[in-house]
């Protein structure tokens, strides 16, 4: 059979095609110069017409960032990043430089979309086709926004929230991830360009899955996003982040911050399917995804659940965490991380038990193929005050081929003797035996791998909202294309 490792995966082709369009060079007037200093930050803030408190906060973050050093503890390697060689604010790509119709889009890209089962209209949006598609998506977002507003739910871009609801932004911004938190969070706080904001008022159950899907595509949001979600007492919200098709990004560094706040009896479910450009199969290029995500279960019996499927990025550095402050609050982390070719992922979670009878569940599935390196790094911390806390952790690794690596680094800190902690870990190798068995029944190698991996990830996939789960599964197949010869 032909050796599939010889063929670039559709994702690689897709993104390299993106670069071919060269939208980086097409930047128009609305851009601030390269590099970072206080003037740049003032300029960003001014462009966004921000109130004074925002600018002050950004500047404080920047000044703090200057005193910090880039963390080096993660099990990832990359050349030094020149922070003065980055555009911190770039305008949306001009409509003129976009393809006019799908006929102008590379057929390979369309093939990938078809594989993912993305409908034609959405394909147009994803491919960045100008004309009405983008406007369409804006109107979709607007229609939904009106419906949500009837329930008192605020769902808008971060910039809009700063304009329309400055009191909420000021009250909650940085209360979960302070700008002093870490190097990348500080950088994000100083320069973040946009993101999402969501507030669900008391007792309201958000009737739809909120998604950044359309909005981000319409606006070509930059690489420093900031998301803030607040669920007030008894509220319930499910939020979907990211996009199952490759998103375009002209830059290397992606440093986002996500803050979640759940008040008494509130639930926030946050699902991510991350598929940024992973670099080519020699490990050239790709996104450095250095993200800080944290949720605060502030109220009693509140719940925050993170589900992530990480298939993209050259390097992933990400630990969606929960601060379990309210008594009886619940934190969950379900993760699938895939590294193929030269991708590296150092990902996991922190569950900090502070309130009484707090519970957390961690299920992590790491899959390494090619030369990929996959590290699970997790911390479970039971504070003295956390009487009756419980944690269950399960970390499974799967290896495809013999040049990849899987690492598990669980930290456990227990300061209350009533805590119950369980930890299970396993490492398995996807066997030639398993693949041959499937092939002997008529399945292709790729379908076999996809099926075996899907089975391995099942516990996580079933946490995803239905549509997302289907797309995640397809994406997984594409990500692992070429992982078996």
């Amino acid at each position: 059979m032909p050796n599939p490792t010889q063929q670039p995966t559709p994702i690689e082709e897709l993104v390299s095609q993106d670069y071919k369009w060269g939208f980086v060079t097409e930047v128009e007037a609305d851009v601030v110069p390269k590099g970072l200093n206080e003037d740049i930050i003032r300029m960003i803030s001014a462009k966004k017409h921000e109130p004074e408190f925002m600018l002050e906060w950004r500047l404080k973050a920047y000044r703090h960032w200057l005193t910090m050093e880039e963390p080096r503890w993660a099990n990832v390697t990359y050349p030094p990043i020149d922070y003065q060689d980055i555009y911190y604010y770039a305008a949306p790509k001009s409509l003129a430089s976009r393809p006019k119709s799908l006929d102008e889009v590379d057929p390979e890209i369309l093939r990938t979309y078809e594989k993912l089962g993305i409908p034609l209209r959405e394909q147009e949006i994803l491919a960045g086709v100008a004309v009405d598609a983008v406007f369409d998506s804006v109107s979709v977002a607007t229609t939904m926004k009106e419906k949500l507003a009837e329930l008192g739910i605020i769902f808008c871009s971060f910039s809009e929230a700063v304009q329309e609801h400055p009191e909420l932004v000021e009250k909650y911004l940085g209360t979960v991830v302070p700008y002093t938190d870490n190097f990348f969070a500080a950088l994000n706080s100083a320069v973040f360009s946009d993101g999402s904001f969501c507030y669900v008022p008391k007792g309201v159950r958000c009737p739809v899955e909120l998604s950044t899907y359309f909005r981000i595509n319409a606006k070509d949001t930059g690489q420093f996003e900031r998301t803030l979600i607040i669920a007030d007492e008894g509220a319930w919200v499910s939020y979907l982040e990211g996009c199952t098709a490759p998103m375009r990004d002209s830059n290397q560094l992606h440093a986002a911050v996500v803050e979640l706040i759940a008040h008494d009896n509130a639930t926030i479910k946050y699902s991510t399917v991350q598929n940024w450009y992973p670099g080519d199969k020699e490990g050239k290029g790709g996104i450095y995804n250095f993200v800080t995500k944290r949720g605060k279960c502030l109220g009693v019996n509140s719940k925050i659940s993170w589900t992530q499927v990480e298939t993209g990025s050259a390097i992933t550095w990400k630990y969606p965490s929960c601060l379990l402050i309210g008594d009886g609050s619940v934190g969950e982390f379900y993760s699938v991380a895939i590294t193929n070719h030269y991708q590296q992922a150092d990902t996991g979670t922190k569950m900090i038990h502070i309130g009484k009878n707090t519970r957390s569940t961690i299920v992590s599935k790491g899959i390494s193929a090619g030369y990929g390196q996959n590290t699970y790094r997790g911390m479970v911390k039971i504070m003295k005050s956390a009487e009756g806390a419980r944690n269950y952790s399960q970390c499974d690794s799967m290896l495809i081929g013999d040049k990849c690596g899987a690492h598990t680094v669980p930290y456990l800190e227990v300061r209350n003797s009533t805590a119950q902690i369980e930890h299970e870990a396993s490492t398995s190798k996807i066997g030639e035996d398993q693949i041959f068995y499937c092939r002997q029944r008529g399945l292709s190698s790729e379908d076999a791998v996809s099926m075996i991996v899907h089975g391995f990830c099942k516990e996580v996939f079933r946490e995803l909202p239905m549509e997302f789960a289907v797309e995640a599964q397809k994406l997984l197949g594409i990500s692992l294309e070429g992982s078996v010869g």
Partner: protein
């Protein structure tokens, strides 16, 4: 035209020759048994026919339905109707039996230009076939071979065969690890599959299975060659005399 024709087949693993010139012809409708002592190459022959790439074919050819079998990928062979019941069936955690088998059946059906079966139609078919092997329908929801007893795994193989309806079925030591009751069930499942369109190659160490699946031809493999062929009586004879005398013959 014979359904399967093996001519002077040589195969080695890691440079060591295991099959040293096998000749075998099977017509559709026939059941052949390959017997032989441990290490004689029985399982190697089964695996080579199924397309396992750990084995390198160094000489000879295999014609299946007139096609060069050795040129085909394992999945192409499967879709063309070659089925192997594994000696050690593999576990696939998280994937249900029904999902797995429907994917397999649809791959085969697609290849044959038939419409793919939806889950409901598949369930109907699967339930019918489960009866052949006296298996509980709940079994369809369990992950492939995970937590199965040895007997359940072997029954599952024959169940898969019943669903996939191959033209050439190779049973690789399907009797190993079975108690007598399980053996009878498996054998009756296989017997129910006997048909004028289908050839079945039973690879076994023991004559025991052949009391229940009576072969048309028996071949004795020793040192990578077929040293004797005969009818079902040959199996009885071996049961009396054992393989030792044959191995002496080969060594001589």
């Amino acid at each position: 035209m014979a359904l399967l024709e093996i001519r002077n087949l040589h195969a080695s693993v890691a440079g060591r020759e295991i099959l040293r010139g096998i000749d075998l012809v099977m017509e559709a409708g026939e059941v052949h048994a390959i017997m032989g002592p441990n290490g004689s190459g029985k399982s190697t022959l089964a695996q080579v026919l199924a397309g396992r790439d750990t084995y390198e074919v160094t000489e000879g050819e295999v014609l299946y339905d007139g096609k060069n079998l050795l040129e085909l990928d394992p999945e192409e062979r499967a879709r063309e109707g070659v089925f192997m019941a594994f000696q050690y069936p593999v576990e696939i955690p998280g994937i249900s039996n029904s999902y797995f088998l429907r994917a397999a059946l649809n791959a085969v059906r697609k290849h044959r230009g038939l419409e793919e079966l939806d889950p409901m139609d598949f369930l109907e078919l699967a339930r019918e076939k489960l009866k052949l092997l006296d298996m509980d329908p709940a079994f369809l929801n369990r992950a492939v071979n995970v937590g199965f007893s040895g007997g359940e795994k072997k029954r599952n193989e024959i169940f898969q065969m019943a669903v996939l309806e191959p033209r050439l079925a190779i049973l690789d030591e399907t009797d190993s690890g079975l108690d007598i009751d399980a053996l009878k069930i498996v054998a009756s499942g296989v017997n129910a599959m006997r048909s004028p369109e289908r050839a079945i190659l039973v690879v076994t160490h023991y004559q025991r299975l052949l009391n229940y699946i009576v072969p048309d031809r028996v071949h004795v493999l020793a040192g990578g060659r077929i040293v004797r062929s005969g009818d079902a009586a040959l199996a009885q004879e071996l049961e009396q005399s054992g393989y030792a005398s044959l191995e002496a013959e080969v060594a001589a």
